[in-house]
């Protein structure tokens, strides 16, 4: 029972800290970090990847794509300067099992739709890495669409384990700390 007052004190402090954090406005991602491309009715927002552990042969790539055109298009591939090839994958978690699936027909993007490739979900899979991406050194590549063709992009490089491109320390927790503009918080 000696520890109880200590527990209570910690709980009160924790509550105050939580309340203080909750009261802060949601920070927007620093504008300097965002980059994007527009091509043939597609808006491509902030392609990024992250540092991989030494010896890693694969890396994930992420990007947000909006179809502002009138016809459905598919992201079918592309390339990444530091890897042999790029695939489009979908990751899912069910009953504690992580599953990865290659999207053979690519990723469909309907007119008006925004598709987000992000950790834990759809992603570009860079297979056969020749070197690890270096933080802050963008990597050249392309994104290939069925109709819009191939578009040159640069992938920004976030730290090891970053959960979003604005996640500087790679320390955001599972709840998803992302910019509030296109994300629902549960």
């Amino acid at each position: 029972m000696k520890t109880m007052p200590n527990n209570v004190f910690q709980a009160i402090c924790a509550c105050l800290v939580v309340a203080a954090i909750a009261a802060l406005p949601t920070p927007l991602s620093p504008p300097a970090m965002a980059h994007g491309y527009e091509h043939a009715g597609l808006k491509i927002k902030h392609p990024w990847t992250r540092v991989t552990p030494p010896g890693a042969k694969v890396a994930g790539g992420f990007v947000t794509i909006t179809n502002t055109g009138k016809q459905t298009d598919h992201l079918v591939g592309g390339n990444f300067a530091l890897s042999k090839r790029m695939e489009i994958h979908e990751m899912s978690m069910n009953d504690g099992v992580m599953r990865m699936k290659q999207l053979d027909k690519g990723l469909e993007i309907q007119p008006g739709q925004t598709v987000e490739l992000k950790p834990g979900s759809f992603h570009l899979m860079f297979m056969g890495l020749s070197a690890s991406p270096v933080e802050g050194k963008p990597v050249k590549g392309t994104l290939k669409f069925e109709k819009a063709g191939e578009i040159d992009v640069e992938f920004a490089v976030a730290p090891l384990g970053a959960k979003s491109h604005s996640d500087e320390e790679g320390s955001a927790t599972g709840g998803g700390h992302d910019h509030g503009d296109h994300h629902k918080h549960h």
């Binding site: 090839r85 290659q102 834990g120």
Partner: protein, 207 residues
Amino acid sequence: MAANTTLARVRLVLWGLVAIAAFIGGALFLGQLQEAARQGASLPGAARFGGDFELTDQNGKVFSSQSLKGKPYAVFFGFTHCPDICPTTLLEMSKHLEALGPKADKLNVLFITVDPSRDTPGQLKMYLSAFDPRIVGLSGSEAQIADVAKKYRIISEKVATSDNDYTMNHTATVFLFDGKGALAATLSWQEDEKTRSAKLERLVDNG
């Protein structure tokens, strides 16, 4: 007369504070019990889970589960050709070890590959150099890995990709075992950091 009234008021305020503290303390204690009960209920057959194994660590040395006896441990399965969940889990576990401070010495952390043909001890050593050096990486023969995966009820399967390459599906849960070798709790990637920290603290405190 006035001094008496003031004293009475001070007493009243103090008793009020005591009542509030007692209420919060009670609620916390109840919450802990409920959490414990909830976890216990969600871990069927906790005592039978796991088992003895012998594998090879990232330095090429034989690693026996006998060496885990008497200390709690965390174990999870993955592979180095994994773009997301494996490096993320290794990073999170590294942060947890750091946050535990000196208490981290009371905990073993194991990363067992589900892809032994590509994850040789040398490959694991290189890969794990980005994380806390206390994390032990384990590989072995296909048969050894299949055996340990079965004991820990791990689902793992190869999934074909282009160019005759493959990736893998696998159980990503982190299993926490107490010093007696019984499953005490699990960590999930979807939980927040605070919840995971609390479970690890409890694990090392309970021994």
